[in-house]
């Protein structure tokens, strides 16, 4: 589904150039649940931003399915991201002045869908995530876990092929974190390809594959069969 070839990213500050991604080559198949790990400054978030098509300053090749994202212009990339990618953030990034339902509807409102269709999609997601009762509440009225749930609902409401999560449980306590990760597993089982960035080994075990970055280099890429089989057994 996704193929990166020799992707590089650097930032120039004055006369210094700092490399955050160095010749990263990566293939992610449809339906995979990939975890990206590494120490601070390894380039994890940078890689995620490249995958999310939020960043334009990288070099190399990025194939999203058959589409060469590296050949698209800014607008085309944004269109592709809007259609096919969903993002979950560590800080949830819900808009404080929108209700739960409105936050979930936000990405749909940028796709020029008919209002009825949007309403239907939002209602489905609210139901699926069991948050119908909270649809008119504002983020400040929800717990951290509930907010992240809404964040995930917003990310998947338009049925993206790829879900990217940047430290999705970083601001949650363990119980909430577990619930969120199990939700990710469920989404993955239903066919969503997931790439998560995390420091947590515990969270990493929910995925099927771990990629490790150090100083911008991809240093490890291995399957994690053990955790996946444990989850399935449950």
């Amino acid at each position: 589904m996704i193929e990166l070839k020799n992707v590089e990213r650097s930032y120039k500050t004055g006369h210094t150039e700092t490399w955050v991604l160095r010749r990263v080559g990566l293939t992610i198949n449809e339906g995979e649940f990939v975890t990206v790990m590494g120490p601070s400054g390894a380039g994890k978030s940078s890689l995620l931003n490249v995958l999310a098509l939020l960043d334009d300053g990288w070099l190399g090749e990025y194939w999203f399915g058959e589409t060469p994202a590296h050949k698209l212009n800014r607008k085309q990339r944004a269109d592709l991201a809007r259609q096919r990618i969903g993002m979950v953030f560590q800080s949830y990034h819900l808009l404080d002045d929108l209700t739960v339902a409105e936050n979930i509807d936000l990405p749909l409102s940028y796709k020029n869908l008919p209002a009825k269709e949007r309403q239907g999609m939002v209602a489905d997601i609210l139901d699926r995530f069991n948050i119908v009762a909270k649809k008119d509440l504002f983020p400040s009225q929800l717990s951290g876990g509930q907010q992240q749930l809404v964040g995930i609902a917003r990310a998947v409401v338009h049925a993206p092929s790829l879900l990217l999560a940047d430290e999705p449980t970083g601001n949650l306590h363990s119980t909430q974190a577990r619930e969120i990760m199990e939700l990710f597993c469920e989404l993955n089982r239903q066919g969503t390809t997931i790439v998560q960035v995390t420091h947590s080994e515990e969270n990493a075990r929910y995925g099927k594959r771990i990629i490790e970055l150090r100083d911008g280099w991809l240093t490890r890429d291995e399957q994690v069969e053990q955790r996946a089989s444990e989850v399935e057994a449950k």
Partner: protein, 821 residues
């Protein structure tokens, strides 16, 4: 449409959530838009609104032109011009205008009684809504006692009686049959309310007399025929006029060519420049308001960095984000416009007296569709201006930085933009302050001008009497002498009022030239040098005028009670008359000839000092006073005595205290008389400063507003900067920075901005003041004192605006500031 509704709901929520920001932005926009709409309402009424005639741009005023500054036009001259072009040139003339005192079912009122030629309404393309227009034969002697009422007269004083046609009203004891009612809003000449019209009486002799006793003077108007331009009409009429002028006459000089001016243009000529200047000023105020609110929006955008980043990450396109920003700013500017409209109309009401005094066509000033369209357009423009820059800036930010809270680079760029906006505000404010300063100095200079008369304890006022009947041919046979029966008894009663030192009557008082007449005649029966007949302002006056106003006698004497109809006719002139027509001569003893009869040889008996006549700034023109006591029916200028006279009462007590007694004395003599504009001469002097005082007050107000807005802008910018740098400041203090160091950190930046603003503003003001040159008096446009004072005022205000945030910065608690570390 759906997305716009969504954005509107969100914008409303956002504005409700930030009441402080919303209040500030709406207030500033209301001031900027309100001032704009108020001035545009005035400008629309005076310059843009079409006159109430058919195809008003084709209606022109036709005047004589030539080497003299002013020409009167006789009816005979008008007919010759009309005949030269042919019947397709529709003409109409105003032959006479008086203020008439009328008793109607709805009460007693004063109306402007305008005598016009019968074809005037046809020329204007307007028909009565009731009854009919004048017929040509109603101009014949004995048939002209018919009248058309203005719609306001009919409505207010006749209760809009639908059966009004055929009824009568009395004007100066003469019965007039009401022929009809003109449409609502119709006025001719324009800018007078409460008008009634009658056909002017025209005899056979009037039709041919270019001078002498049978000449009939008037103001000529015409409708430009189709297929001819104004320039072509001017050429044609001028060629005819050149031939007419070649025929010698005994009367005043005849114009050698013709000037054709659009009627609206002729009315608003004096007002268009000051109004345009005023609109430029309020436009500047609007720009200032936009700069200020844009700055506020930029600061707000910084605090919404994360939101914009999230929206972008969720798929919002640039145009979508821009739309959201414009919708929000449209909300703000819409609310600001609503309040601004209220403020603007209130301001017009509060300043209405000044507006009426200083501008023409004021009855056309009111809210109408053009004003609403202007407001709507300005509201939209405001929304785009204040919403676009912050939105575009926000879109330049990198999404990842926004998501992760990294705003330093974005803030720095936005901070520079905000600083630029504050510098621009300071610069504009300086321009306003310079303008206000120059006008204030103008008013001061005007107040220093020597008026030539005293202002102390003098009450003045115009009176309109109902003249008793006179025969249709104007003979004196059965005429009652209004001077004997009304004016002399009135003077006696006024002089008898306790506290009154002097009372006098005159057709024109200093700086109260509401009614004036130009006279032409010969001195000592000789032709004047250069063949030009002396022309000057003619006045009637009773004894006591010079004492009432403390006007010095330069030579000879003024009128006394001994000057009567039986004694030789005498006149008094002013120094300007002597300088122009009798230089280096003793004027006393010279005679003045105005036509054969009793007033054939009028002897100059005195010279008075020059007084300011119409305005304080104009040089005094030659004038000649005729003794009111020697005027009687049948003598020249008796018509002036019956039309309008003014009273001057000087007391040993404050003039205001004499108002009631003046009114009582007048009504004891003439119960039906009405007064106009009773005020002290001091008030008349203040009113005569007219447009300068008006402009000065407006500019003072706008400058104060601008100073407030700019100071708030500077304060806001520095407060925001301090808030952004709280951590840094806390760190500095924790590392040992003294209080003064932190103060100077903030004040140094402020000083730089203020210096930049003052410099830019001074340059801008240097060029801008040239537009004010025509309005200022007694001060140079590039007056160093004004510029210096303004720079100091702005510097001091800016210092105070900067001090508060600087002081707050120096008071930052380092522990609180560094808590997150």
């Amino acid at each position: 449409m759906r997305s716009i509704l969504q954005d509107m709901r969100y914008a409303l929520r956002q504005l409700r959530k930030s009441p402080g920001f919303t209040f500030t932005a709406v207030s500033v926009l209301a001031l900027g838009l309100g001032a704009n709409i108020a001035v545009f309402t005035i400008l629309n009424g005076i310059l843009l609104r079409p006159l109430p005639y058919a195809q008003p741009d084709r209606v022109v005023k036709i005047e004589g032109a030539g080497s003299d500054p002013y020409y009167m036009m006789s009816y005979a001259n008008m007919l010759q011009l009309r005949d030269a072009v042919g019947p397709r040139l529709q003409i109409g003339a105003v032959l006479n205008r008086n203020v008439a005192s009328i008793v109607a079912p709805g009460g007693r009122f004063q109306a402007y009684h305008v005598e016009v030629t019968a074809d005037t309404t046809a020329m204007l393309g307007v028909q009565p809504i009731l009854g009919r227009a004048f017929r040509q034969e109603e101009q014949e002697p004995g048939r002209s006692r018919v009248v058309l009422l203005g719609e306001d007269v009919w409505r207010k004083f006749y209760a809009a009686d639908p059966a009004i046609v055929g009824k009568t009203l009395t004007i100066k004891s003469q019965a007039y049959t009401i022929l009809g009612v003109m449409p609502r809003g119709f006025t001719f000449p324009v800018d007078e309310e409460m008008q009634i019209w009658s056909p002017g009486e025209v005899t056979g002799a009037n039709r041919t007399a270019m001078s002498g006793d049978n000449v009939l003077w008037g103001d000529l108007y015409a409708r430009i025929p189709g297929g001819i331009t104004s320039a072509q009409l001017t050429d044609q009429l001028s060629r005819t006029q050149a031939i007419i002028a070649k025929v010698p006459t005994d009367g005043p000089p005849v114009a050698t060519r013709i000037a054709v001016t659009g009627y609206r243009q002729s009315l608003s000529q004096g007002a268009s420049k000051p109004l345009t200047l005023l609109y430029a000023v309020v436009f500047g105020l609007w720009m200032l308001a936009c700069l200020n609110v844009t700055s506020l929006m930029l600061a707000r955008a910084v605090s919404r960095t994360r939101e914009q980043a999230v929206r972008t990450a969720l798929g919002a396109s640039r145009s979508r984000l821009l739309q959201q920003a414009i919708v929000e700013s449209l909300f703000l500017s819409g609310i600001g416009a609503a309040f601004g409209l209220l403020l603007g109309q209130t301001a017009i009401k509060l300043l209405w007296h000044q507006i009426q005094r200083n501008l023409p066509l004021t009855n056309a000033i009111h809210l109408e569709w053009r004003v609403i369209v202007c407001l709507a357009s300005l509201t939209l423009l405001t929304a785009i201006v204040v919403g676009t820059i912050p939105a575009l800036r926000a879109m330049r930010r990198n999404v990842q930085g926004g998501l992760h809270g990294a705003t330093s680079t974005a803030s720095a760029a936005q901070g520079r933009t905000r600083e630029l906006l504050v510098v621009a505000q300071l610069a504009l404010t300086l321009v306003f302050l310079v303008g206000a300063g120059l006008f204030l100095r103008t008013i001061h200079a005007l107040r220093q001008v020597q008026l030539g008369f005293t202002q102390q304890n003098v009450l003045t006022g115009g009176i309109v009497l109902n003249e008793t009947s006179h025969q249709a041919d104007g003979s004196a046979g059965t005429q009652i002498n209004i001077v004997r029966t009304a004016y002399v008894p009135l003077l006696q009663r006024l002089r008898a009022i306790p506290g009154v030192q002097v009372a006098a009557l005159s057709s024109v008082l200093p700086l109260r030239a509401e009614f004036s007449v130009n006279i032409a005649g010969n001195l000592d029966h000789k032709k004047a040098p250069g063949g030009q007949t002396p022309t000057f302002a003619g006045r009637l006056a009773s004894p006591g005028l010079v004492e009432a106003f403390g006007i010095p006698m330069v030579n000879g004497r003024f009128f006394t009670d001994d000057d009567s109809p039986a004694s030789p006719p005498v006149v008094v002139v002013n120094q300007a008359f002597v300088n122009k027509f009798l230089p280096n001569q003793d004027p006393v003893g010279h005679t003045f000839f105005m036509g054969k009869g009793r007033f054939e040889n009028m002897r100059i008996v005195g010279v008075i000092g020059d007084v300011k006549q119409r305005t304080v700034t104009d040089a005094t023109k030659p004038e000649m006073y005729f003794c009111l006591g020697q005027i009687e029916p049948g003598t020249p200028l008796y018509g002036i005595a019956t039309a309008f006279i003014q009273v001057a009462i000087r007391g040993a007590v404050p003039a205001d205290s004499l108002r009631a007694q003046f009114d009582r004395a007048l009504h004891e003599v003439a119960p039906d008389a009405t007064t106009t504009n009773v005020k002290t001469i001091h008030e008349a002097v203040e009113d005569s400063f007219g447009s300068q005082t008006f402009m000065a007050r407006l500019l003072e107000g706008f400058a104060a507003l601008a100073l407030m807005i700019a100071s708030v802008g500077l304060y806001g910018l520095l407060s925001f900067a301090v808030a952004q740098r709280t951590r840094e400041i806390g760190l500095r203090i924790a590392l040992g920075a003294p209080h003064t160091n932190i103060l100077s950190l903030i004040l140094r930046r402020a000083l730089l901005l203020v210096a930049a603003g003052l410099t830019a503003g001074s340059v801008l003001a240097w060029f801008a003041v040239r537009f004010a040159k025509g309005y200022i008096y007694g001060v140079q446009a590039h007056d160093a004192v004004t510029f210096t004072a303004v720079v100091l005022v702005l510097a001091v205000a800016s210092f105070f605006a900067a001090w508060l945030p600087a002081h707050r910065a120096a008071s930052v608690d380092p522990i609180l500031a560094l808590r997150s570390e």
